[in-house]
């Protein structure tokens, strides 16, 4: 019996328990699809489901990775020979913070869904763009201030110690 098991595991690449779990997951997904089939919006949901993966893996990730490379190049040019990563993290933090807020709160910032928004709340999305810009400015200002303080300190200490 154990020889059979071993042969199965070698051929399949994992134990039978793992095959059971993965089959269960696909069966559950199949059941969801079955329940959704009569829904006229089922195709639309599938498109959004797949688009979420594709947009993350093939758009969002490459864009932020490329932006980070650019940022590192830019920050490297500013470094002027000091040791360590230079100001890159003082740029990364506010850029990431601002980008995260934009990503999550995009509908309010670009005033998408204004009609349903007003119907639900009785208010408009007018303040959000300004608030996001202010938050972004605040994050850059705080980060810049921290960098200034660090630079002054290391200069006074006379040694170039970088790092977070």
């Amino acid at each position: 019996m154990s020889a059979v098991l071993r042969r199965f595991s070698t051929a399949y690449g994992a134990g039978p328990a793992r095959l059971l779990v993965v089959s269960g997951a696909f069966a559950l997904t199949g059941y969801v699809v079955l329940l959704l089939l009569p829904n006229p919006s089922a195709t639309r949901m599938l498109v959004w489901f797949l688009a979420a993966v594709v947009l993350h893996d093939l758009v969002l990730f490459p864009v932020y990775a490329a932006a980070d490379r650019l940022l590192q190049l830019g920050a490297g040019a500013l470094r002027r020979g000091e040791e360590g990563p230079g100001p890159v993290n003082y740029l990364r933090l506010p850029v990431l913070g601002s980008g995260l807020l934009l990503l999550v709160f995009l509908p309010g910032i670009i005033r998408q869904g204004a009609f349903t928004y007003h119907a639900a709340t009785g208010q408009t999305q007018q303040p959000f763009l300004g608030r996001w810009l202010l938050l972004t400015a605040a994050m850059f200002a705080v980060s810049g201030l921290c960098y200034l303080i660090r630079t002054l300190r290391t200069r006074r200490a006379g040694t170039g110690r970088g790092g977070r």
């Binding site: 690449g13 790092g163 977070r164």
Partner: protein, 474 residues
């Protein structure tokens, strides 16, 4: 010596019992240059010939050595993020499924209506504590938001695996990789639909409830497989380094994790621009930022204003009716003629029907209760309501111990123009047909001439502009 490690790991991969690999993995890294990539050494499953030829077909772009340079990626960092999600994502999922129960699926008023076996065992949603639904939805939405940076970081940490070549070496690997589509698609789909819904942006054009509910089950399928496959590896990786000492390691002292068969560690890592401590701090800061900017819409009071970018961060004014509106009278197209002097509340029961004017209702014993309205979108507002107890109305209608009550609104167009209440929700001493709030008459937007307010009931089921209540027994 170090080349033995991948084989040992692979052996545990094959083992049914999935015992953790020996600590050889945890040992310090060999020098970064000239390392052989252990991923290249793994065995093939059936049919080995196919996997082997697939390996030879490697596209020219898939040379991971120079593509993935981050010195921070590695099984330990991935496992720390994974452990956070392992604990927190089930909480988000369960609160979501509980919310479905709170909507009252036994009355066909939870969406989607027909879900087959895909639901928690049914139970009667309680009315106590009154803040139960605030807590449930607050947890669901705020935790969901706070986890966005963690999910993104987790995906960043494993992105080299996406471009791994060959894509599979055995049927097991193939199926498990396919199940990742359920996991990643599920979690991203839930985040996107949820984030759009709390901002009232319905750009997706399908029913939010249906999509978010079924999306959750697809996510659950992917999540269970991922946990079953990766949990032993996560435990091993977490044991490979001490969190405490990692949190004490500065950028300059940060070294890559040892190259192993996970395919996560860069073969030619760049110099670190931040340490693992910094990376975890960055993710934590992102979570904190989202948490601080959203918790205000749940807590309310002076903290509400901190929800700077969310719909429920603003208070319209300082008057007694100036609190959050869910669906305005204008949007519900309430005809003012139907809510004026001519308005009558109709109470119905198997024994007959009675009509009451607003003046008559105000002459009845009034009860005051401080209760929250909590919405599925994870916001809440607590106010002091007064009106007639629903159980008093049930008695007046001639059915003092009803099995349910169906409340209908003057509104004719919305999906929530009527709602059925459970027996416990009718009989709770704080369950009211509210006529006044904070000492004044309800405003039109808050449901004048009368609205329902029941402890721990989802906001939309606290029917506004009530016209009719039927107390049933079956």
């Amino acid at each position: 010596m170090c080349l033995a490690a991948p084989y040992q790991l692979e052996a545990t991969f094959h083992a049914v019992g999935m015992s953790p690999p020996p600590p050889a993995l945890a040992e310090s890294a060999p020098p970064a240059t000239g390392r052989r990539d252990p991923l290249e050494e793994s065995e093939f499953g059936f049919p080995a010939g196919v996997w082997r030829s697939l390996t030879r077909l490697r596209p020219s772009g898939a040379r991971r050595a120079r593509t993935w340079r981050s010195p921070l990626r590695g099984p330990w960092l991935t496992s720390v993020l994974g452990a956070v999600l392992l604990v927190s994502l089930p909480l988000v999922t369960i609160t979501g499924l509980l919310s479905y129960i709170a909507y009252g699926p036994q009355f066909g008023q939870a969406f989607p209506r027909e879900v087959g076996w895909l639901r928690l065992p049914p139970f009667e949603w309680p009315t106590s504590p009154a803040w139960l639904y605030v807590l449930n939805q607050g947890t669901h939405v705020i935790l969901g938001l706070v986890l966005i940076p963690v999910v993104l970081a987790k995906l960043w940490s494993v992105v080299p695996k996406l471009f791994e070549w060959p894509p599979a070496r055995s049927p097991a690997k193939l199926l498990e990789r396919l199940s990742l589509l359920l996991l990643v698609g599920g979690v991203l789909f839930e985040i996107v639909t949820g984030v759009l819904n709390i901002q009232y942006d319905y750009v997706f054009g399908f029913s939010f409830y249906t999509a978010h509910y079924y999306g959750a089950w697809v996510f659950i399928a992917g999540f269970v497989v991922h946990v079953a496959v990766k949990l032993p590896h996560m435990v091993t990786a977490l044991r490979s380094r001490s969190l405490r000492s990692e949190l004490r390691t500065s950028r300059s002292a940060t070294r890559p994790e040892p190259l192993d068969s996970t395919g996560l560690v860069a073969a030619e890592p760049a110099a670190p621009t931040m340490g693992r401590r910094g990376a975890l701090g960055l993710v934590g800061a992102g979570s904190l930022l989202l948490g601080v900017l959203s918790i205000g819409q749940v807590v309310g009071g002076p903290v509400r204003r901190t929800a700077l970018l969310l719909p429920r961060g603003r208070t319209p004014g300082s008057g007694p009716n100036d609190f959050q509106v869910n669906r305005t009278a204008a949007a519900a197209r309430i005809d003012p003629g139907e809510t004026g002097e001519e308005w009558r509340l109709v109470l119905r029961s198997p024994t007959g029907r009675r009509r009451f004017s607003r003046r008559e209702l105000l002459a009845m014993p009034q009860h005051t209760a401080t209760l929250p309205i909590a919405c599925v979108e994870g916001w809440a507002t607590t106010q002091r309501w007064s009106g007639v107890r629903l159980r008093d109305l049930a008695e007046l209608a001639g059915n003092p111990v009803p099995g349910w009550a169906r409340v209908s609104s003057v509104e004719t167009i919305g999906a929530f123009r009527a709602a059925t209440l459970q027996a416990n929700q009718v009989l709770d001493p704080d369950a009211l047909l509210a006529l006044r709030v904070n000492g004044v008459d309800l405003s039109m937007d808050h449901g004048y001439p009368a609205r329902v307010i029941v402890p721990a009931l989802p906001g939309v089921h606290n029917t506004k502009w009530v016209r009719d209540i039927e107390f049933g027994s079956d």
